[in-house]
């Protein structure tokens, strides 16, 4: 048997996290280095996952399978395909950055902080590699516990409200998904995803199952109108928590749509696609406008995340309308590719934006836009990074932010001019709220003494932002390695979407 790489990636961070916690706060420096070591080891271990990945097939690779709960015919079944591989890479990458970013900033119970992130990394990789619905659900829910603690322990002043809201919102969505999964298990006799894909379901069943899934995934994405937990959670979470939340946890919603909703309930997805498309467009326009008026930088980026995730859900579901108006499938894969690229790119950009805010917050302990002004005068290097990421957030060509949005808009055009038109307003709105914020924070004259006393990035911060900048530019200039990985899987998914189960 081959080396169980996915199990290694899943459990190494969990075990490492427990060890880091056992090292304890009295030896904080050892705990930090150990945490970094584990995170780097996981990241290095994802490289063979990428290099060994066969980009010509949609089949699950690196698969591992053994009985787990025999009474429920649920297996410990892991595997990656073109959808999960990029997200696993993103997870491992972000965790390393988050640990470096929290290096000295976290003074309160540091070992538990790093442990929580490592454990969460393992669970998130588990979510992305689970090929068994019950296993997926276990990882999916277990992930809430470390995040709950991260926001609650290391968060801001209203952290307790925010974290309980976060937990209950996502828990509420998830339990409905659980009922749907159990229902399907009783029909199919297995929790294996491949079996569920093949399970015939009546239209009525599909509609109910779709709505149950929708409750879980729409909360996670989050989509309007169940997005209200996100601004609270983001604002109150520590910088690292916001980064992981934005970079990975939101992606779980999109991942869920691609992995569960579309292939398992294709007919219901078809019937209800206008609901999702409508909510996505509302997110793009309305939330874009909401972002414009925010006073708090983190809140602004949180709303911008919701607007950007609107593109993901749009890309996932616009395929049905493309088929309806053009009669062929070419555009469907395009839209799905756009959604995926948007997820990865948003993971990088939103993560970077939150890190930028974190850099400022660590210095002046405020996130109010009005408390800053003219930062570029005292922090030129930081200013350059912030402007770059802001441009990427606004979708400037050459950055990764452009690729995803462009692909989705292009695909939407095939469905309807108006979808594309409304979606494209993001180019204006996104530029408006991001750049206006940058203008007020970074440019202009030095606003006050606090800003005048700012010190520019230290080596650690520059390293983190620099790595992210390279990634954002690389993906923007040459996204082909990413799209190549995804293509066969998304092509297959487009097929699954379009084959009726009735």
């Amino acid at each position: 048997m081959n080396f169980p790489l996915l199990s290694f990636l899943t459990w190494l961070p969990v075990v490492g996290g427990v060890l880091v916690m056992l090292v304890g706060d009295s030896r904080a420096s050892l705990a930090r280095w150990l945490a970094l070591g584990v995170a780097l080891a996981v990241f290095v271990a994802t490289i063979p996952l990428y290099t060994g990945f066969d980009t010509t097939t949609f089949a699950l690779q690196f698969a591992e399978r053994m009985p787990w709960v025999p009474g429920l015919h649920s297996d410990y079944h892991l595997g990656v395909d073109g959808i999960s591989l990029p997200l696993i890479l993103l997870t491992a990458f972000s965790t390393v950055l988050v640990i470096i970013a929290g290096w000295t900033v976290i003074e309160k119970r540091p070992s538990q902080y790093f442990a929580a992130f490592l454990i969460m990394e393992g669970l998130m990789i588990g979510v992305f590699s689970a090929a068994d619905a019950l296993l997926f659900y276990v990882f999916w829910e277990a992930m809430l516990i470390p995040m709950f603690l991260i926001i609650g322990i290391w968060g801001g002043t209203r952290r307790i409200y925010a974290t309980i809201k976060f937990f209950l919102y996502t828990f509420l969505g998830s339990v409905l998904m659980l009922v749907a999964l159990v229902y399907m298990y009783l029909k199919a006799g297995s929790y294996d995803l491949a079996t569920l894909y093949a399970l015939p379901l009546t239209h009525n069943e599909q509609m109910l199952i779709f709505l149950a899934f929708f409750a879980a995934f729409a909360v996670k994405v989050p989509m309007v109108p169940v997005h209200t937990w996100l601004p609270d959670a983001h604002v109150e979470a520590p910088t690292g928590g916001s980064v992981i939340l934005a970079a990975i946890m939101l992606k779980m919603g999109g991942y869920g749509f691609l992995r569960f909703s579309l292939p398992i309930t294709p007919d219901a997805s078809h019937s209800l696609d206008m609901l999702v498309i409508g909510l996505s467009l509302v997110a793009v326009v309305y939330i874009g406008l909401v972002a414009l008026v925010q006073q708090d930088m983190k809140k602004l980026i949180a709303y911008s995340s919701i607007a950007h995730m609107g593109f993901v859900t749009l890309g996932c579901f616009v395929g049905y309308e493309i088929v309806a108006s053009t009669g062929h499938f070419d555009g469907v894969t395009l839209a799905l590719t756009g959604a995926m690229v948007q997820m990865i790119s948003h993971g990088l950009i939103a993560g970077a934006m939150f890190l930028c805010v974190g850099v400022l917050y660590d210095r002046l302990h405020t996130r109010e836009i009005s408390a800053y002004g003219g930062v570029i005068n005292t922090m030129p290097i930081f200013g350059a990074f912030m402007v770059l990421f802001a441009m990427a957030n606004a979708g400037l060509p050459g950055t990764s932010g452009f690729v995803g949005e462009f692909l989705v808009i292009l695909a939407s055009f095939k469905a309807s001019f108006w979808f594309a038109f409304v979606a494209a307003t993001t180019l204006i709105l996104g530029a408006a709220y991001t750049l206006w914020m940058v203008k007020r924070v970074v440019f202009g004259a030095v606003a006050n003494e606090g800003v005048a006393s700012l010190k520019d990035l230290n080596g650690r911060e520059a390293l983190v932002l620099g790595v992210l900048a390279v990634a954002v530019l690389a993906l923007g200039l040459y996204p082909k390695p990413l799209t190549d990985v995804m293509e066969p899987t998304l092509r297959h998914l487009a097929q699954l979407m379009s084959v009726s189960k009735l």
Binding site: F148, I164, F171, V182
Partner: protein
């Protein structure tokens, strides 16, 4: 098949040993001075261990003795073994608590052992009379246990409440039994099952009797609307007694419900299913919602018990073999979590400080991170979050009700478990997010600490690997 007297007696060997050993403990304790009291404690645990050995030695398969009055089958063996372990764990957990409060007296152990005997008899009841006898032995011991701290007015008050309400419930139960006897002419559960299948199931008199029996059982189990005594009794009794009440008897009441409903009245499933649905939905709803408003941890756990009873009933509602197994799985894991939760209160408490308010746990994560994590495991598991075992127990009962087409019931149950998550999380919040109000000193001994850690870790391990427990239960309930 009916056996000779000698064979019948051999089936009841564990009960007889337990009775004998309890009597010995009772007599020996009279001759001990306070300093030698630990001998009572050791003898009690030894009695349970010896009983467990005899239970393990009982023959495989289903055997009926004493002309159908006494049944030994897989469920009985399994539950008796678990009960021995549970009661022994309660003793271990309680030792320090009792010593610190001057309550380390023989009565506690003797009463708890008599309660265990009653529990054994209930679990093996083959007739309504044996069942009633078991219930009363258990109940009377429990009343006395609650009042056992005689200087505490709260304990006396709750014992009074418990006794009066319990007597009414026993009356209802007995009345129901008499109606069942009147309609079918038998106390024997197997004979009752035959009559019901032969057509007595639709007899209005039988349904009338069934309603009374069910009300009695629901009271003992603590299902809404017969739950009023639970919060007061849980709150008023010494924590070590509350721990006993919340754990071992649940196993017995589960077995009892299974015997009466599934074995005796299985033919009238349509009649009791609807009643159980009402009890279950009300329990899950009221238990979870009212628990949110509690500031006392013991009261909160009392309401949590009520909602958990509702979940156990969900498994029974299904009326399928899978459902019964799911309910047994739920009961066993619930007992594990309840033991751990009350043990945490005991761990935190010391003389003059009961640690039974939620705020007493403030800042535990800073002063004692290990036990804060253990409590987190227990709370999150009870809330039903994977990968802990509490998730799987909920999963199984939900699957059981979905399997019989009661999807709405499953949805109601999971929605209320979200409400439930809130108050369990509040404990986590208090421990992890809030600064300590004062110095938290843990005075508990190493044995308690070790057992508690084991208990909480079992909640995690059983969640990750629960197939062996599932298989054991499947073997017990073929």
């Amino acid at each position: 098949m009916n056996l000779t007297l000698a064979n019948s007696l051999s089936l009841a060997a564990p009960e007889m040993l337990l009775l004998l050993a309890t009597s010995v403990v009772l007599v020996v304790d009279l001759f001990l001075s306070d300093r030698q009291r630990h001998l009572t404690y050791l003898l009690s645990i030894a009695s349970l261990a010896a009983t467990a050995v005899l239970v393990a030695g009982l023959p495989e398969g289903r055997h009926v003795g004493f002309n159908g009055m006494f049944v030994v089958d897989g469920v009985a063996r399994f539950i008796k073994l678990i009960a021995c372990g549970t009661v022994a764990a309660v003793f271990l957990y309680s030792r320090d608590y009792l010593i610190q409060r001057g309550l380390f007296r023989g009565e506690y152990f003797v009463l708890a052992l008599f309660a265990t005997l009653g529990l054994f008899v209930m679990v093996s009841a083959g007739s309504l009379l044996t069942m009633y006898m078991g219930i009363e032995v258990l109940a009377l011991s429990q009343y006395a246990l609650v009042a056992f701290d005689r200087d505490s007015p709260v304990a006396a008050e709750s014992a009074m409440k418990y006794f009066v309400l319990g007597a009414i419930a026993s009356g209802a139960l007995l009345y129901g039994i008499s109606i069942l006897y009147g309609v079918t002419g038998t106390f024997d559960l197997a004979a009752l099952a035959e009559r019901v299948n032969a057509g007595a199931g639709s007899n209005i008199g039988l349904l009338f009797g069934l309603a009374f029996v069910l009300a009695g059982i629901a009271f003992k189990f603590g299902a809404v609307p017969f739950h009023m005594w639970i919060p007061d009794v849980y709150h008023g009794a010494p924590t070590s007694v509350t721990m006993f009440l919340s754990a071992a008897p649940k196993l017995a009441y589960f077995a009892l419900t299974l015997r009466v409903l599934a074995e005796g009245l299985g033919g009238a499933v349509g009649a009791w299913q609807d009643m159980l649905i009402v009890l279950s939905v009300l329990s899950i709803g009221v238990g979870n919602v009212v628990a949110v408003a509690q500031t006392n941890l013991k009261r909160m756990l009392a309401y949590s018990t009520i909602s958990n009873v509702g979940f156990i009933l969900l498994g029974l509602i299904a009326g399928t073999q899978f459902g019964y197994r799911a309910a047994l799985f739920y009961t066993v894991t619930y007992v594990l979590m309840a033991l751990g939760s009350f043990a945490m209160i005991i761990l935190m408490s010391r003389k003059g400080f009961e640690a039974d308010r939620i705020e007493d746990f403030r800042g535990l994560a800073q002063s004692n991170p290990w036990f804060a994590w253990m409590m987190l495991f227990l709370m999150v598991s009870t809330a039903g979050v994977p990968p802990f075992v509490g998730f799987f127990s909920k999963l199984y009962v939900i699957q059981a009700v979905l399997d019989v087409g009661l999807s709405w019931l499953a949805i109601v149950a999971v929605l209320f478990s979200v409400v439930g998550a809130f108050y369990y999380l509040r404990i986590v919040k208090v421990m992890f997010f809030e600064p300590a109000a004062g110095e938290i000193t843990v005075t508990a001994g190493p044995a308690l600490k070790f057992l508690l850690s084991l208990n909480a870790l079992a909640v995690l391990v059983l969640g990750l690997f629960n197939s062996s427990l599932v298989e054991t239960i499947a073997r017990a309930m073929p």
